[in-house]
């Protein structure tokens, strides 16, 4: 167990196997063909279908999609926190060279917070109401570094609080004494306690007011730069996200339908669904006219045949109704899953 | 009559089978109902096989262990315990249903009044409930039962004693349910469309409350049987009657175990365990029915 700790520490200080030269060239996170299914009374639902993407250190990826498209499932699958009746069927989540899916439960426990950390969706209730903030931070550190001295642990917690712009006095407070934005910051502080290589923030700003949303996003941005972690931001607010991420991934019915840079997404979205999403955003040209996407997000239990988006698609073709589109990589490394582009690849 | 039964029949099976299948899943409700049905059958059909007079002292030879003639044995005072069980369970059921019924009725009325009219009515009913709740009801019942002339205590007075301080539970439950129901859409719609207070209570709220009233009723029966049993075990029951608690109290007074008459306390104890056990199981099953959270973990 200690070797794991040591190993993780080593990885933190010298990542990517001493290949110091181009640390940013190698992906620090590599998700390959991840598949998650849920078994319900009504049948088997594929919540994540063949999801692959990779991120370099310091990169920020935003994942957008409608409710139920599998965003949160992706986050939970990467943390290996899928609870029964769900199951990770196949795939790899490689963080700094180790495949998390292959780890033993105890190794996975160690990896959480040390290699990959998660900032929860409902920060309002994510802190134990009866324990002081400090104690909740300390037990997180202790769970991974039982040998660290008391003062070292304390310093680590205070530094972490400082870096999310919270005063040290928060350490001694109870969650109910903090505002919503402060609680979310505490969660971020806990997430970066052990300087993980990957941070997943699952809708970190939902249930916060607009001003606080921005402050929290800026905080995430700041701490991410400090520890040079790869960040995955999950959300449905395209506008807010566009200001903070480098890349955007669009999810639909458990699949990544498009992954590209923010600029590409806003100037030239390829997938019809991405196009529709961008058109939903108000801009100067279509001021006052709100455009939605016709139809409803499909139930995972009754996906339409072929491409799951075909009933709502503007440019639907015959092949879309019968054949599942494969992932196509276009010039410049952007990825689209649509029959319109399979030929171009 | 014959005409109407024909189209009804498929409907009846359509209702019965899902119900039985549900009981298969909700095991505590199923098992509880089965035990209760067996007990009801025992005390109903038992009336034809035993002479109810044998349940009273000096009817049969005393202190006989269980045998073919007296399957449950006879006690020190010359009761046939078989007959005593038949009569005693019947009386227990009577106390339970009467006290449970009155308690639930008071609770429903007070809960309704309290929640529906609010204001000082609500405040005073709630305060009384809050004051009475911490007072150990059974001990107050001991005082009441102890103050009565023991010769005049009957099964019916037992039921009244039991119900006297046992209506607070249903009152609070019904009150909170009516409060949440008042906020629901359909009540506001009815109010806006000019339905009278009484109309809203009887047409809109009451039907939706029935599951909670049913649960409260079973709960009250359980509490009433429990309380009546405790009073009887303390020697405060109608001493001549073969109530199960009375028999245990008498057996204990005569040192039944020391003298080797083990069947005397054991038979009524087992009977009481079956009664209270089945009621508790039904209660749990109803909870499961109305609380989806508990169901979720199954």
């Amino acid at each position: 167990m200690n070797s794991i700790v040591a190993n993780a520490k080593k990885l933190n200080s010298s990542p990517a196997k001493s290949n110091k030269v181009d640390r940013s060239a190698f992906p620090i996170l590599d998700v390959k063909n991840l598949e998650v299914t849920y078994f319900t009374d009504a049948g088997r639902a594929v919540a994540l279908d063949d999801v692959s993407f990779s991120l370099k250190a310091g990169e920020k990826l935003g994942i957008v999609g409608e409710s139920g498209s599998g965003k949160s499932t992706l986050a939970l699958a990467m943390m290996r926190m899928i609870k029964s009746p769900g199951r990770i069927e196949s795939g790899k989540v490689i963080v700094g060279g180790d495949d998390l899916i292959e780890l033993s439960p105890e190794e996975m426990r160690q990896a959480r917070l040390q290699k990959i950390s998660y900032i929860p969706q409902g920060a309002m209730n994510s802190l134990n109401p009866v324990i002081r903030i400090g104690a909740q931070m300390v037990d997180a550190v202790r769970a991974h570094m039982p040998d660290e001295s008391k003062s070292e642990v304390y310093d680590r917690c205070i530094n972490s609080l400082r870096s999310v712009d919270l005063p040290a006095s928060v350490f001694k407070m109870h969650p109910h004494e903090l505002s919503g934005g402060m609680k979310q910051r505490v969660c971020i502080a806990i997430g970066i306690l052990l300087q993980p290589q990957v941070i997943i923030a699952d809708e970190p700003t939902s249930a916060l007011d607009v001003v606080t949303q921005r402050q929290v996003m800026e905080t995430i941005d700041k701490v991410q730069k400090q520890i040079n972690a790869a960040v995955i931001l999950i959300g449905h607010d395209m506008g807010l996200m566009a200001q903070f991420v480098d890349k955007v991934a669009v999810m639909y019915a458990g699949r990544l339908v498009e992954v590209c840079t923010v600029r590409e997404m806003f100037t030239d979205p390829k997938h019809p669904y991405s196009k529709a999403l961008i058109n939903c955003l108000p801009n100067l040209k279509n001021k006052g006219v709100f455009q939605g996407i016709p139809g409803l997000a499909p139930s995972l239990l009754r996906l339409p045949g072929g491409c799951a988006f075909n009933p709502r698609c503007e440019s639907v073709m015959d092949i879309c109704k019968t054949q599942r589109p494969e992932v196509a990589t276009l010039d410049g490394g952007r990825v689209v899953t649509c029959h319109k582009f399979t030929g171009e690849a | 009559m014959t005409i109407s039964t024909a189209p009804h029949k498929p409907q009846k099976t359509g209702w019965l089978f899902p119900f039985l299948r549900y009981l298969g899943r909700n095991k505590s409700l199923g098992i509880g109902l089965v035990i209760l049905l067996i007990l009801v059958a025992f005390t109903l059909f038992g009336q034809f096989f035993v002479d109810p007079k044998d349940a009273y002292p000096l009817s049969v030879p005393s202190k006989r262990p269980p045998s073919w003639e007296y399957p449950f044995g006879t006690d020190f005072y010359g009761r046939d315990l078989m007959a005593a069980m038949v009569v005693g369970m019947w009386q227990t059921a009577f106390i339970g249903v009467v006290a449970g019924g009155i308690g639930t009725f008071i609770g429903v009325v007070l809960g309704f009044v309290s929640a529906y009219f609010g204001g000082w009515v609500d405040a005073s009913i709630r305060t009384v409930c809050q004051i009475l709740t911490p007072i150990p009801v059974m001990l107050i019942q001991v005082v009441v039962a102890g103050s009565l002339d023991k010769r005049s205590v009957t099964i019916f007075t037992m039921a009244l004693i039991v119900v006297m301080l046992a209506w607070m539970g249903p009152t609070l439950v019904i009150r909170s349910q009516v409060l949440t129901m008042k906020e629901r859409q359909f009540v506001s719609v009815a109010k806006l469309s000019g339905v009278s207070d009484m109309g809203i209570i009887f047409k809109e709220i009451l039907p939706n409350l029935l599951p909670f009233v049913a649960a409260a009723f079973v709960g009250q029966i359980f509490l009433a049987v429990f309380a009546a049993f405790y009073l009887a075990v303390l020697g405060l029951g109608p001493l001549r009657e073969p109530l199960l608690g009375n028999i245990i109290w008498l057996a204990q007074s005569q040192g039944a175990f020391f003298n080797g008459w083990w069947w005397w306390p054991i038979i009524p104890s087992l009977g009481m365990i079956l009664i209270l056990g089945s009621l508790a199981l039904i209660n749990m099953g109803l909870d499961e029915l109305s609380n989806p959270r508990i169901r979720r973990s199954e």
Partner: protein, 331 residues
């Protein structure tokens, strides 16, 4: 904070006053005169019927103040309640009710403390485990037999234990505080004998009351395990037992403490009846003997004493609650 304490204390006074008033008026609504009842009983037992029974009753009424106007009796009575003076036992005059309670109380407190704490701990742990999805299946099912016992009053568990363990196996004594013929003394053999007599009563109380805690705790546990902070604790990489005790059990226990206060009445009633069954020299047996002998002051005194004690303990628990749940302090 001060006003909160004062409000709680005021409410405690209100409960005590209500209970005392109920206990004062109920017997006086009844046609039974305790003194006459007592002498009628004596004459039945001895076969001696004094001609001047009414005279004796009247003189006793005078001595106990029963001839005064009702309001004056009530005022005197409330004064007595405040000073914990419950009068004299009719049966064992001139022993006072308070003396009787004081003699028997240690037995009852010992039994209740031991049985209640044990069943509270075991029941809550079993209930918490039963609702914990990560616990092994056999462990989760351990709670089941206790839940089945839930509807069974402890006194019936006691009868069954008496039959199987005491009567059939002759393992443990059938009743009493210590073996007949032994004299209370400070010796190991006597202590052992004393303990052997306590096992069955305590066991009946524990077995009979675990199920209730299991069931409420399981319901609470199902709610708590879905809370965000339990999930986040796992995301933090905490060990399983850490999450179980600090994040899950700790929070699920909070309502149980309140429930504990509310259950005290039932617990004490059960304990009293179990004491009677096993003929332990506790408050329960004193009460049952008093009921048997129509010793009314003792009945009322004990009931009032228990009611007051329970109300006081509940108030203390409420003061304790903010220590367990920091959110309460702020309101």
């Amino acid at each position: 904070m001060i006003s909160l304490i004062l409000r709680r204390l005021g409410f405690l006074m209100l409960i005590i006053w209500s209970a005392s008033t109920i206990i004062f008026f109920i017997p006086r609504l009844s046609s039974v005169n305790p003194v006459r009842e007592r002498f009628a009983e004596l004459s039945r037992l001895t076969g001696y019927a004094p001609d001047d029974l009414e005279k004796i009753v009247q003189s006793f009424n005078k001595q106990f103040g029963l001839d005064l106007p009702l309001w004056q009796q009530y005022i005197d009575y409330l004064g007595n309640v405040i000073t914990l003076d419950f009068g004299y036992s009719l049966n064992r005059y001139p022993t006072t009710v308070v003396e009787l309670i004081a003699q028997s109380l240690p037995w009852t407190i010992g039994l209740i403390l031991f049985a209640t704490i044990l069943s509270f701990i075991i029941g809550n742990l079993l209930g918490a485990v039963a609702a914990w999805p990560r616990a092994p299946r056999w462990l989760r099912n351990t709670a089941l037999p206790f839940v089945l016992l839930m509807g069974v009053p402890p006194v019936l568990v006691g009868v069954l234990l008496l039959f199987f363990v005491g009567f059939q196996l002759k393992f443990l004594p059938l009743g009493g505080a210590y073996s007949i013929g032994l004299l209370p003394e400070m010796s190991w053999s006597f202590a052992l004998d004393l303990l052997r007599h306590q096992i069955l009563p305590a066991l009946s109380l524990v077995l009979g009351s675990i199920g209730g805690w299991v069931l409420t705790m399981r319901g609470m546990g199902i709610t708590i395990q879905g809370e965000d902070y339990v999930n986040f604790a796992e995301h933090k990489g905490l060990s399983g037992h850490r999450i179980f005790f600090d994040y899950y059990l700790r929070n699920a226990m909070l309502p149980q403490v309140t429930a504990f206060g509310l259950a005290l009445g039932t617990v004490v009633t059960s304990a009293i009846i179990v004491e009677g069954l096993f003929a332990l020299p506790g408050v329960g047996t004193v009460l049952i003997n008093a009921i048997r002998a129509n010793d009314f002051p003792v009945i009322y005194g004990i009931v009032l004493f228990i009611t007051i004690s329970i109300a006081v303990i509940m108030t203390l628990l409420e003061f304790l609650y903010p220590l367990l749940d920091p959110r309460i302090n702020n309101e």
